[in-house]
Assembly symmetry: C2
Homo-oligomer: 219 residues x 2
């Protein structure tokens, strides 16, 4: 061969080049698997699971479609991996925030609201995916993900119920208020746009304040 053309593999950009990092990639992941996850987050968050083809993912990752099946057993498993890891990130962030918070129920509610909102702002695409594609999961993966989602919901339940028991919060319906608050905090991933009128900091603070009002915090 006379031409200076590099072989196909080298002609390609390195896998995952140009993709933003994602919280769903773990340190142990092989580079190509990480690129596929990051690419799937990007594309699926926009077009959904069924609206995204394996070829779309591979193209966004800068690899070939077939390689997906070397790192994951199916497109379905790739989705399940992402959603599962996403909830691990959310729960870990929330539990860590609670560990750092003190005993005051208002501080504790502020902490979990901040963690929840911040994850949904910082990992907006991952969160959107996790909130809209549960229906695309196979039954056994769905069970796992729903269970983890319940864990997160129960953290809010516990914080609010605890505040009510200590008479710092006055809400009549602790469980409904907990769901009310988590729903609103989850929704930020659906409407937030970077560069909009509100900064992430403002959104976090406002949600903390409104959540405290919703539980009838006795200031």
């Amino acid at each position: 061969m006379v031409s200076a053309e590099k072989p196909a593999a080298a002609r390609r950009a390195s896998p995952g080049a140009g993709l933003p990092p994602t919280t769903l990639v773990l340190p142990g992941d092989e580079p190509t698997a990480a690129a596929l996850i990051a690419a799937a987050v990007e594309v699926m968050a926009v077009h959904g699971y069924h609206g995204t083809s394996v070829r779309d993912i591979a193209a966004a990752a800068g690899t070939s479609p077939a390689i997906l099946y070397h790192h994951f057993t199916s497109k379905q498993v790739l989705l399940a991996t992402m959603l599962d890891r996403g909830l691990d990130v959310l729960i870990a962030a929330t539990e860590q925030a609670l560990d750092l918070a003190g005993e005051d129920p208002a501080d504790r509610l502020r902490a979990v609201v901040e963690a929840h909102v911040r994850v949904h702002l910082d990992s907006q695409r991952e969160s959107l995916l996790g909130n809209s594609e549960l229906r695309a999961l196979d039954p056994s993966s769905l069970r796992v993900v729903v269970a983890k989602r319940d864990v997160q919901q129960r953290i809010f339940d516990r914080v609010i119920r605890d505040g009510v028991r200590r008479e710092v919060f006055g809400t009549t319906y602790p469980e409904d208020t907990a769901r009310f608050v988590t729903s609103a905090c989850t929704a930020v991933a659906a409407w937030y746009r970077a560069g909009g009128p509100l900064s992430a900091e403002e959104i976090v603070r406002h949600h903390q304040e409104i959540a405290l009002d919703a539980v009838r915090w006795r200031r």
Copy 2:
């Protein structure tokens, strides 16, 4: 995607037989078009737009796939029709509730919360569809639907801002609180299950109470 094994003889009986009614069907609709819409609501609410094939819709409606193209120019247009009508229903219910409410800001917030929650409970599948499949719309349909969504959001904005101006509500962030409340009220479509521990009436009342707390209603 979705299996259907109805015998041909039963299919010919009457289109749409066995489907629950939907708010998205208008009086002027031809029966087969109505059956297609009702079927699409049922199947798409579960599997999403891209996860539902034209054959799935036709099977659920008890007709043949080709007939869809006699009543709608494409699967895309069928979706756009449903989402557009769904928002018309929501906005009409909310505006009518406001008309019936008096001058008291608390009553007016109760009214819009009740209307919004009730639509999302009574038309759960239609609402789920409307909240998750905006991304499947073509740009021009999306513009229309987003505009109507903004109309609904502005109704809440206006009610809450009005309450603040009259010093009946004390919230510091009227606009953020409005979004907080609508987000939580929209989310009921995602978690409500008929036959669960809460009746529709209870859910409506609790959401009214929590919303009033969130805006710092001065009782």
